[in-house]
């Protein structure tokens, strides 16, 4: 009950007049197989900006979804009190009615509608279903003025930049008589300048008396605007600190301070010569070709080595991997890929596979599997020539044998190889994706978030497979947002931030603090 005691602390520190507007008590939220939140407590005082920080997947967004009613009352345990009343929200409409408005990380604007139309989406200025465009436009103008956005309200959302879109989102929130504004990583996709403008706006709202919750993992932002900071890790509240106590060191320790348990199978690496190299890799955004996403990356993987790529969301890790793998992402890609020391053509997926690369996606449902087809067909699809004659006739029995072998080898739990992959659990789906790429017999495997959304037991199995592959002499590149995972399985870790490599650490000397520091330093460098 550490947090409970801390609510008393400010009475001594002199901020005593501020009364608590939001109190979340003992929030526990369970998903099948995972406890996303465990006994989380949160107090927010009226008129403050309260920052919530934590690693990716720590439970920040889940907590906010509980608060805003996305997860309705009854789907979680614990109590929510807002402005002195217990709240049992059944949906986002209920929370908005009492004045809690959330702005999600992914903007919820309709690109081909105007600013005005977006501002009042679902909340139209209408009488008997007939929209009063005059009053809508004049209200829109007032709202835009409040957020300092100087745009014609008839402009289409698609024609304004991301920074301005974020302001429209805020204006939309203001149109709903907001008492508590929740911003979920509002600056994640903004430039430095837009971020500053947004934070200044937040401070201005605070002066006008609004309460806000800011979810962020950018510590400089937190230090700039937050009155208090709550740290969440592994679905639990670790501590809440006052502005004066906030320091980078303390937040980092708090964020990552978990003990390394025996969650990773051991392995003695047998590392050979370099088999995979990427040189001066540059990638531009597919829709905004003048925006560089990957800004000159150099890296290498050796035989039998497991190499990690650490970084925060949006650092460009997936973009890097997909652009290497058959130019599946981005435009104006330049740079060189070497496999076994020789330049490799990876301009199409087919050529990349032929060159010995494989890429197992982070999003197995969208990019990895044909969910309406069974395991057998999914396992062989990346290497159909391996089970068919030259003329393209598939050897039925041979294919079945391959599928059965991989089902056994990667321990896929299913009724048979004829089970539809859409009905498998996340861990088993991931094993199907791995099997598919193992069957293409690559020299280098790029595994993007190989354990995302799967339970601890299945994670261990995936790690075991990774180790076995490394022992067989393959080079493995693992992208992960979970730092302990990288520390647990990698021989070497690159730290990626904003499209650049900002650090390279040997596995034995790497630590979460060092990775975090490399990221933060990289960010400071970018800012200055």
């Amino acid at each position: 009950m550490a947090a409970g005691r801390r609510t008393l602390a400010p009475q001594i520190s002199g901020l005593a007049m501020a009364k608590t507007i939001l109190e979340m008590r003992g929030i526990t939220k369970t998903f099948p197989g995972v406890k996303a939140l465990q006994d989380v407590n949160l107090d927010v005082r009226e008129g403050e900006i309260h920052a919530i920080v934590g690693e990716n997947g720590a439970g920040k967004s889940t907590l906010m979804k509980v608060l805003s009613g996305v997860y309705p009352y009854g789907s979680y345990e614990g109590e929510i009190h807002f402005a002195g009343q217990e709240c049992r929200f059944n949906g986002i409409h209920d929370s908005e009615r009492v004045g809690i408005v959330i702005i999600h990380q992914e903007l919820a604007l309709v690109p081909l509608l105007s600013i005005t139309e977006n501002l009042f989406l679902g909340n139209e200025q209408a009488k008997f279903g007939v929209i009063d465009w005059h009053s809508a436009r004049s209200r829109a103008k007032k709202l835009l003025a409040r957020v300092g956005l100087n745009e014609n309200p008839d402009t289409l959302i698609t024609n304004i930049g991301v920074g301005k879109q974020q302001l429209v989102e805020i204006a939309k929130a203001l149109s709903k008589e907001v008492r508590l504004l929740i911003l979920d990583e509002p600056t994640a996709s903004l430039s430095e300048k837009d971020s500053h403008a947004l934070l200044d706006l937040l401070l201005e709202f605070k002066r006008q008396g609004m309460t806000a919750i800011l979810i962020s993992h950018k510590l400089n932002e937190v230090k700039k605007v937050a009155d208090r900071v709550t740290v969440i890790r592994d679905g639990r509240t670790i501590e809440t600190m006052d502005r004066d106590d906030v320091s980078e060191d303390r937040i980092i320790t708090s964020m990552v301070g978990r003990t390394m348990e025996d969650r990773y199978p051991t392995r003695t690496p047998k590392i050979g010569e370099t088999i995979f190299e990427v040189k001066d890799w540059v990638v531009h955004h597919p829709l905004h070709p003048d925006r560089q996403i990957i800004k000159g990356i150099n890296l290498s993987v050796r035989k039998g080595e497991v190499v990690g790529i650490a970084g925060l969301m949006g650092a460009g890790r997936t973009e890097f991997a997909m652009s290497v793998f058959g130019r599946s992402y981005g435009t104006k890609v330049s740079g060189e890929v070497l496999v076994h020391g020789k330049p490799a053509d990876t301009t199409t997926v087919e050529k990349a596979v032929a060159a010995g690369l494989a890429y197992a996606t982070e999003d197995r449902k969208t990019y990895g599997l044909n969910l309406i087809d069974h395991i057998k067909h999914n396992v062989t699809i990346a290497n159909l020539s391996g089970v068919s004659s030259r003329a393209g006739v598939i050897d039925d029995m041979g294919e079945l044998k391959v599928a059965k072998d991989f089902r056994k080898r990667t321990n896929i739990r299913s009724s048979s190889v004829y089970q539809v992959t859409g009905n498998l659990s996340g861990g088993n789906q991931q094993k199907v994706v791995l099997s598919k790429w193992l069957f293409s017999d690559p020299d280098v495997l790029i595994l993007d978030e190989p354990t995302r959304g799967i339970d601890v037991g299945a994670k261990y199995e995936i790690y075991t497979i990774i180790n076995k592959l490394a022992d067989e002499g393959k080079g493995i590149l693992v992208i992960s947002s979970e730092m302990p995972e990288l520390l647990g399985i990698c021989d070497r870790i690159y730290v990626l931030n904003e499209g650049r490599i900002v650090g390279e650490l040997a596995g034995h000397e790497a630590s979460q603090e060092k990775i975090m520091r490399a990221i933060v330093r990289g960010e400071e460098k970018a800012a200055s």
């Binding site: 969208t366 309406i372 699809i381 006739v393 059965k404 321990n411 299913s414 009724s415």
Partner: protein, 419 residues
């Protein structure tokens, strides 16, 4: 909906339980069963006319061009697309054939080859816009439907062109030659002038019967071989009793139909064409990488692309094939009418698409079977034929066909949800 059982174990050659095997077979052969029920229903309602040899032959002739196009449409729909232009393309190609053969006197075989090539080019052109320019197939082929309907009118200038050379008519009106000779089992009754009275006696087209026997033997051989292979690899097989009964029933159905054809004029040429094409497309979809890739693409195009499948080229080829089949269907239709008319092909695309959906294909792509599409076409065709004989008005025929289409797809979805 997570179903998991114990970790995989390697079992000795296993047998499915009778219940599982029956269930699987029912799902697989449900459409055949539906077709049989519909046929029996109309047999009763038309007081026995439906199964008359001459009428069965007619059903085949009336639906041959629909079935030919349904083969291509199945690929298109499995790939996640649609082709609204096939009716117009078929009509247009029929007109091209008429102009080449009737107006310019070109050799029929040469003209047919040119026409199918024209169909391939048309399909390729549409496929290019769909695959590479990423314009939705609905829009591209809607445009194609208008364009080729217009070109058909322009080419014929409002007239009907015919008749075709006899060799060409044989495509739709001909029957396979009886190389062995008629086989009289019961001599037909003669009328007063000494000629045979139709529908009396049993005189069989022996080549047709021979082909029927060969097909049945081939089917037995293939089924046994596949079962052996499964057993030798230690895979699960269905109980032998069920296997035997299933094949015996299929053989009986085939021989019954062959007998019906044989007691009229034998197998129509166009049925041979259809049979070969159907077998080819079953093989392509079931056994060839090309077919497998189409299913993978229709199921999840992003995953397919990331697995190294050239999704654009594949889409392009699917439309080329569709174009060629539409052209062939146009030839069959023109040969059947023995002239090219400005109205040829109108609305045909809807019958084709309906056949594929009745046959169990998913509008979302990734699911469908060639055999299903063919049976779907026959279900619609038998209903047309049966209702026609019963004298049901064309207006009510449309209503009933519409409801059957809706009902078939609804039933299919309901079944899948339950499974």
């Amino acid at each position: 909906m997570t179903t998991e059982t114990a970790a995989p174990t390697e079992a000795a050659p296993a047998r499915q339980s009778m219940r599982d095997a029956l269930k699987e077979n029912l799902r697989q052969y449900g459409l055949v069963l539906a077709l049989l029920i519909i046929m029996v229903f109309f047999q009763v309602m038309t007081s026995g006319i439906l199964f008359l040899p001459v009428n069965l032959t007619n059903v085949v002739l009336q639906n041959s061009y629909i079935i030919v196009m349904a083969l291509g449409m199945l690929l298109v729909i499995v790939a996640g697309h649609i082709d609204l232009s096939v009716g117009s393309v078929a009509g247009f190609v029929g007109a091209v054939a008429a102009v080449l053969m009737v107006d310019y006197g070109l050799n029929p075989l040469l003209a047919a080859i040119v026409c199918i090539a024209v169909g391939g080019v048309i399909g390729g052109a549409q496929g290019y816009f769909i695959a590479y320019m990423k314009i939705p197939s609905f829009i591209v082929t809607l445009a194609g439907m208008l364009v080729f309907k217009g070109l058909l009118l322009a080419l014929l200038g409002g007239r009907s062109v015919g008749p075709f050379p006899t060799e060409f008519q044989m495509l739709s009106a001909g029957f396979i030659p009886d190389v062995i000779g008629r086989w009289t089992i019961v001599a037909p009754a003669l009328n007063a002038s000494g000629t045979a009275i139709p529908n009396t006696g049993i005189v069989l087209h022996s080549t047709t019967m021979l082909i029927g026997v060969l097909i049945v033997l081939g089917m037995f051989y293939a089924a046994t071989r596949s079962r052996r292979a499964q057993e030798s690899h230690g895979h699960e097989t269905e109980p032998f009793g069920l296997f035997a009964i299933k094949n015996a029933i299929m053989a009986a159905i085939i021989m019954f139909l062959m007998y019906k054809f044989a007691s009229y004029r034998g197998l129509p040429n166009v049925l041979i064409v259809m049979g070969i094409l159907t077998a080819l497309f079953v093989f392509i979809t079931k056994r060839m990488t090309f077919g497998r890739r189409i299913f993978a693409m229709g199921g999840n195009i992003k995953a397919a692309a990331l697995s190294g499948i050239k999704t654009e080229r594949l889409t392009f080829y699917v439309f080329v094939i569709m174009g060629m089949l539409a052209a062939l269907a146009g030839l069959i239709y023109a040969a059947r009418l023995n002239q090219a008319t400005p109205k040829a092909g109108a609305g045909m695309e809807l019958d084709v698409i309906a056949a594929v959906f009745v046959g169990g294909a998913s509008a979302m792509g990734g699911v469908g079977e060639v055999a299903g599409a063919v049976i779907g076409a026959f279900i619609m065709g038998v209903m047309n034929n049966g209702m026609g004989i019963m004298g049901i008005n064309i207006d009510w025929q449309q209503v009933i066909k519409g409801l059957v289409l809706l009902g078939a797809v609804a039933f299919d979805l309901y079944n899948k949800k339950k499974a």
